[in-house]
Assembly symmetry: C2
Homo-oligomer: 355 residues x 2
Amino acid sequence: MKQRRVTLADVARRAGVSSPTASLVLSGRGSELRISEAAQQRVQEVAAHLGYRPNIVSRGLRKGSSLTLGFVSDTVATSQLAGDLIKGALEAAHDRGFMLFIGETEGDPALERQLLDALLDRQVDGIILASMFTRSRSVPAGLGAVPAVLLNALGEDLDAPLPTVVPDEMDAGRRAARLLLDAGHRRIHVIGAGPTADLVPPGTVAGRDRLAGILEVLAAAGVQVVSGHLCDEWLPANGYAATRRILDAGGGQDAIITFNDRLAFGAYQALQEAGLAVPSDVSIVSFDDHPLADWLRPGLTTFGLPHEQLGRRAVEILLEVVRARAGTGEAPSGVERLPMPLRTRGSVATCSTRP
Amino acid sequence: MKQRRVTLADVARRAGVSSPTASLVLSGRGSELRISEAAQQRVQEVAAHLGYRPNIVSRGLRKGSSLTLGFVSDTVATSQLAGDLIKGALEAAHDRGFMLFIGETEGDPALERQLLDALLDRQVDGIILASMFTRSRSVPAGLGAVPAVLLNALGEDLDAPLPTVVPDEMDAGRRAARLLLDAGHRRIHVIGAGPTADLVPPGTVAGRDRLAGILEVLAAAGVQVVSGHLCDEWLPANGYAATRRILDAGGGQDAIITFNDRLAFGAYQALQEAGLAVPSDVSIVSFDDHPLADWLRPGLTTFGLPHEQLGRRAVEILLEVVRARAGTGEAPSGVERLPMPLRTRGSVATCSTRP
DNA sequence: AACGCATGCTAACTCGGTTTAGCACGGTCG
DNA sequence: CGACCGTGCTAAACCGAGTTAGCATGCGTT
């Protein structure tokens, strides 16, 4: 049972060569270093026959690289996002022969330090620092020692910025506004922030950027936000309350942009109570593509987060940084923004009283 | 920036001793091997001052252990369960100084082999083989080479069984039945399997065990299942259809055990349409504690899966196996069943017409 | 003076690979 | 005949720790 692993020395012995020779052959540098065809063939055959697999730990000790990345996140379990982010990262890593260490900080900086140390102790080739909701964060010291990428978080250190991958919230804001304009809507309300660009919940990048995108497009079309509703939190109850206010103010032919789907749930509830129908009376477009968005009747039209894509790109960019440090290729830098996919369902209707 | 790590040799040099001496001191075997107090003190001070951390890769090469475990799952992202299982495992591992490699097989045996190989190449000390829904599975060859534990899955190889951690489905079945009996119910229906023990969806351990537990308790109380509804799948539509059949058959004072919460959603819907109220007309108890179970009105009383506990225990047992292989302690074996926590909400009422 | 013994440390090897420098051999050329 | 060169390989060092065997030194005995 507990059979010993086949080592390079085993292969070399059985092939009648020295272990450096076997190493050269198996790393493809055989011809370059003038190992005879015959010897190369023998080594290859023996290696295949014995099922030789190089010990990555040992190789890592010599080469400094371990074919291993660290993925440190504030949360791994509480949201669908977390799982998909990890899934994307896992797949991208596996495609390139890398394995991923996963760590969870629970937002605790001390724990984060411990995890980063534990990763460095294990000679990881690079580290992804992920956050489950897009936010600004400081970058812990000591990360300079190893390639690193920020995922779904924006770094605050502007002198030593890390490459960063985030969803393109501003673009999604623009598209949400354009979607409503194109459907003929002119009476547009915003729930979650606004009506002016400075009225956003503190610390949320998503809120700021979504609002900025919305306002930009509306301004360009000469349309003003009818009302904006800054909320403490983005929960159904807040959406409900804001929608009640909108309805109480009267109007008609309204469209609402909710800043996340839970706000939209509350809006649906308030509209239903008021005897109004989505979308014929009120159109709604939202953000996040919550699993429940598809359960609502009518289905909620919403901009989803490109979860797996984010995870994938983080790994891809990280590996580019790794290669750049090794001297091959250009080091990526700056912020990469990934488009948020629109899930068109049934909550937006063409406005009937087009002026 | 790219500062070199502090090595044992650095510490030794600065402390004016040889590296073996430093190694002995730092591994706590200094006194045992008669290193003078003075020398020990100097080494400790220098190590602390330089912030020395041993390179685990190197240590692993020598000692064969890497303070690293592998967690291979068929899925990491599609369910809450997956995330929580991982979270529990992560925490337990971190508490003991271990890091976790995560891998996702997507149910593909070839991919599973690749991942296991990749883990073995990295000298992991042990491997957790997890499944996201409890089921039987064959254990891949080659796992004998390294300690391993099955998580939320039952192995099919009975000659070389792996230690296993699963939720205690049969116990939950018993408790569900007892819950209804204690509330005075005698007209009990089962949706998802039954009415007899052999009528379960193929391959689902959960179905078989839940049903067995239910039938055992009912039989002991001299109560027969009024009707059982074996379904192809456990989806809302199936729950809806089965509930319609129950209502069409007439009766009154019914109680329903649904085999998962999605079946219960369908049951709620059918009851609502029929103008019946939960729980005053029909009581429902279910399994899984789906995130939506708390959103239903009334809240669904359901047995949850002990997600994090499962992950934790898997790591703990795995590390016991590791220690046992190293010669310390007893090797655990057999199947450990973790109790499923009951979430009491509002879907079960005391039966008014108690005979 | 020779021996034994405890003390305090280190040389040398090990793990499994990679890398560099260079040896041995045969043939060619001046 | 010796210098030179290309061929085909290997010895030896290296990565950073852990481990074992044993060497000095000083002290007390016989």
